[in-house]
Symmetry: C2
């Protein structure tokens, strides 16, 4: 039977697992004796290995960024709109590497893996991670793939933080840094939302301090509430209004039980919360939101981002979206200002979109054109 994938799709893809057995010391001081990373690649690595692009995922992302895992897949990877033949991250030109980060729950070593020292699931005992730990583990992956320098490191949101950290930690190992809908650090409000999400998980008695594997439980409802909080903040007020208005689900007030779903938006949120908590691991969610909160690009550079960016040797592309209130345009402008102060080459696009933070994942002509132009300008030999 012929598989009919869209012509501009990379088509069928399959993840691969890479095992790393050299001890890996983390920012928190603890050492992992070994770890696995699940990776997908799209396109071909060229002869001088100068066309590799690293994709860094955001909070709830994974390695499956583009293409399809089977002909039955209803949905392609999470960034399929921007990775593929003729797309901004053009797989006819680039060799694209996308991984599930350390600590993740899609196959890479994380809280759901077995701790080889104890023979038990790590659970809450999995070491706390910082963005730099991901960057260092990604560098090991680059070593394994024989990639001494990325043509570009690319990420949106938490992924953009990884891209910026790459530019500071391994200045000679990337030529371009692409930072989309991100920030040099979270605002107090952002931290507050993440903390509330974590509280929702911890409040679930099935969480057992993260030790739910050993208790044969799962904090599904806590994680669902956490996701609902996150989800509201990824959408703009406007798009929620457009999407749901104040539509009543039944056409009239039922005024029934508290459990009754009255508004369409409630039904949508409950669905989002439920499906997310079916597929995602609560400990990973705790760990990833913590890494997001801790990230502070310039913390060890006297809180001066220009000083930090002076270490960088690559060029930068920065993009933001007008209705993103979780990573607002001001945060991206701060990045651009710091880069200019550090005398770096930076291109910046502020993209009109009604879709809030989610816009970085969604189709948008201006975004695609501007992002595509920047990526097309990258020299790969």
């Amino acid at each position: 039977m012929t598989q009919a994938f869209p012509a501009d799709s990379i088509g069928l893809v399959a993840p691969q697992t890479y095992s790393f057995t050299e001890p890996f010391t983390l920012a928190c001081g603890r050492t992992l004796e070994q770890f696995d990373l699940v990776v997908e690649t799209y396109g071909e690595l060229n002869a001088d290995k100068s066309n590799a692009v690293l994709i860094c995922h955001a909070l709830s992302g994974d390695h499956h960024a583009a293409g399809y895992h089977s002909s039955e897949d209803r949905k392609p990877g999470w960034w399929n709109g921007y990775i593929g033949p003729g797309k901004p991250i053009d797989t006819d030109k680039f060799f694209v590497v996308s991984l599930n980060n350390l600590g993740g729950c899609s196959g890479s070593t994380g809280p759901g893996s077995v701790n080889p020292e104890t023979g038990k699931v790590w659970g809450a005992d999995f070491p706390k991670l910082r963005v730099r730990d991901w960057v260092h583990s990604q560098a090991r992956l680059a070593d394994r793939l024989g990639i001494s320098q990325w043509a570009a490191v690319v990420g949106g949101s938490l992924g953009g933080m990884q891209a910026m950290r790459w530019a500071l930690e391994y200045p000679s190992r990337l030529r371009h840094c692409v930072v989309i809908a991100s920030a040099m650090k979270l605002s107090a409000q952002n931290i507050a939302f993440n903390e509330t999400a974590r509280q929702a998980i911890m409040a679930d008695p099935e969480f057992h301090g993260g030790d739910y594997f050993n208790h044969h439980t799962y904090p599904k409802s806590g994680l669902a509430v956490a996701r609902m909080i996150g989800h509201i903040t990824y959408l703009s007020d406007h798009v929620m209004g457009e999407k749901f208005g104040r539509e009543l689900r039944s056409g009239s007030f039922t005024q029934g039980l508290d459990e009754a779903v009255e508004f369409q938006v409630e039904s949508y949120l409950r669905y989002q919360g439920d499906t997310f908590s079916d597929r995602f691991d609560a400990n990973t969610y705790m760990l990833m939101t913590r890494a997001l909160d801790y990230f502070d690009l310039a913390r060890e550079y006297n809180d001066d981002p220009a000083t930090a960016f002076r270490r960088a040797q690559c060029d930068f592309y920065v993009a933001s979206f007008t209705t993103d209130w979780r990573f607002p345009v001001e945060r991206s402008r701060e990045i651009v200002d710091a880069l200019i102060a550090a005398q770096k080459n930076v291109s910046y696009t502020e993209i009109e979109s009604p879709y809030g933070h989610d816009a970085f994942l969604l189709p948008n002509e201006h975004y695609r054109a501007a992002f595509g132009r920047y990526m097309a300008g990258i020299i790969t030999e």
Copy 2:
């Protein structure tokens, strides 16, 4: 021992309970055979009873709006900055009536009261309420006090919704309607935040579908998470930044347990959540957020607010705050536009404040002056 209250305070006040024994049919169709309202009054009712002002409280408010309950009180009532001698709601001029709404948890009949028909605590079986039910119960209170017409009905946030509903339900019973930091209906985003808060409560296994009294439990952690969600949305991003920045609690990352409180803002939020869940009833929170979600001023007026407001006979004062993103200035401007279209007298002040939705409770010179001027212009005989 002399009690030393601030000179501009109304001083010592004491709540009173009024019992209503006529059957009271609610918007949902159910009937309360009796109910109590807890009420505080400040100032003196004048001879022709023309100087009475009704205060309508918001989501988590109660009857204790001004003054002190004892000389040991560390804090006065919730709107003490705006109610008292020489203050905008001047107790030298007005007779101020402030009540805990029906369904509340500060002494008025609500989910925590005993259902006289069953002899058991109502719990989740307490009838669902709409804003109009509060208005009708407040009208009964006015009857009891012999007040045929309020000089003004005043409220902020959910209280402003009650004030507007008064103007439509009892056009001849108020001369002025004061609507602060409110809206004619919530946006989908607002409903989504409320729904997530309710989900947090329902996810707490101690909630038992609202029947926690009979289970001798209390959904404290769920209610705390609900309050944290609410609290973030009442503050502006800016003020959270000013108040907490990204200050670490210990001065450095501990990277310890997930339970560790790393940022000041987390510590603050947990405190807010905990103290609120100690004093507030979860069923009341469910019920009040539902009333907030359901409110839609113009729903039965062909969704045309000008048509709705044409019923009103009073004058209006509307105020909003620049950084309030839960009830943004646009929502107040819509009220003003509709009032103008309905050919009503309306004064409007847009107040510069960094404090988000909470600003309506906080000291602010411009707010105090503008609100005070409007109230001073009200003729009381």
